[in-house]
Symmetry: C2
């Protein structure tokens, strides 16, 4: 039996990913709130010693620290009967989507949202570039979702959990969300999974999930 | 026995990753040159039908197409005795580095290089932002490499193969490469592995590697 502690911040879609996984799979764990806006060198000793890249989330499994949200999803999924595929080609397709997320939509949409919602004085060139990238990435995803209910093998997987994370906050980017009806329908399908919650309802303080 | 075909372009560090893996592991395969500067909709039917995200590289394994360079490295590594770890925690650390690469150094350095070397008229704000990110990412890597010869478990893995890719071209970014001596020493260590070649020596046309 494992003993998980998860460090995260409620404003981060990357932190929402493993928290959502825990909720959907009814996995018990301790949640520890860590303020993502505190400079990294001023954070608690525990998180500084655990976070290899200085980023959140961090998952501690019986004393072993793991980071990178998509890598944490892989770890949790490998231990789970839910959201996992036995077929290696389906697992490979999940990996492709995770890497696509991390260098595309998880970068374009997440940065655009953060700069639009929490930051100011960002150069317009940079915002325009992010908007272009986000629209391109969302169009790509929209196209994929016209022909299938979930990203891999017609069933929910960590590919969906990873990619949906920032998209429940799409309105925060200022983009016209009406352009992507298939994405909207897919987000609705995910939201019907037992245990699902909106990222706005992320825990805002430390607590135990039994 | 597998039958690999790899589509790539010699100007892409993402394409260098699997080509380097093939060379270091003496894996036979067919290489197919695909011009990355040709608009995606004008590329050959074969590559358009195979490339899920319209990106290169693409690996075909007995008719099954795989994409995303880091995901391809995972696939190749899972089938290999070289560059693979039996311990799940070491495998997990490799995954963390691969995801770190795809949203950090594989994005900052690669885009900075591409825009500096192959593009023009990029807004200075965007270049400055990329330079900031690249320096931060390189500083992080430099710090890691002060204490170890390779990124995971003191032995070469696909984490090194992935992250080194764009760094042999670091001078193309215009950054002062003298700032990162540990990275230089690590790149030299990788270059001593049997079968290694510089990305400048990527194949420029289609050919068979037996």
């Amino acid at each position: 039996m494992s003993n998980y502690t998860l460090f995260g911040d409620y404003r981060s879609g990357n932190c929402y990913k493993p928290v959502l996984f825990m909720a959907l799979s009814s996995t018990p764990y301790a949640y520890r709130h860590e303020d993502v806006t505190v400079p990294r060198t001023e954070r608690s000793d525990e998180i500084q010693g655990s976070s290899r890249f200085g980023q959140l989330p961090v998952l501690i499994d019986d004393g072993t620290a793991m980071c990178q949200s998509n890598s944490i999803l892989c770890f949790l999924s490998n231990r789970s009967v839910l959201f996992n595929f036995s077929d290696y080609l389906h697992r490979q397709q999940v990996m492709e989507w995770l890497f696509w997320e991390s260098c595309n939509i998880g970068k374009s949409v997440s940065n655009l949202r953060w700069l639009t919602k929490f930051s100011a004085n960002t150069a317009e060139d940079i915002l325009a570039d992010l908007r272009d990238r986000a629209v391109k990435d969302l169009d790509r995803l929209e196209q994929e979702l016209t022909s299938k209910p979930f990203l891999v093998n017609d069933t929910p997987s960590i590919a969906d959990i990873s990619i949906c994370a920032y998209l429940y906050w799409l309105k925060d980017t200022g983009l016209d969300t009406g352009r992507w009806p298939q994405i909207k329908a897919w987000l609705d399908r995910i939201s019907e999974l037992p245990g699902w919650f909106h990222p706005d309802d992320m825990p805002r303080d430390s607590r135990e999930f039994a």
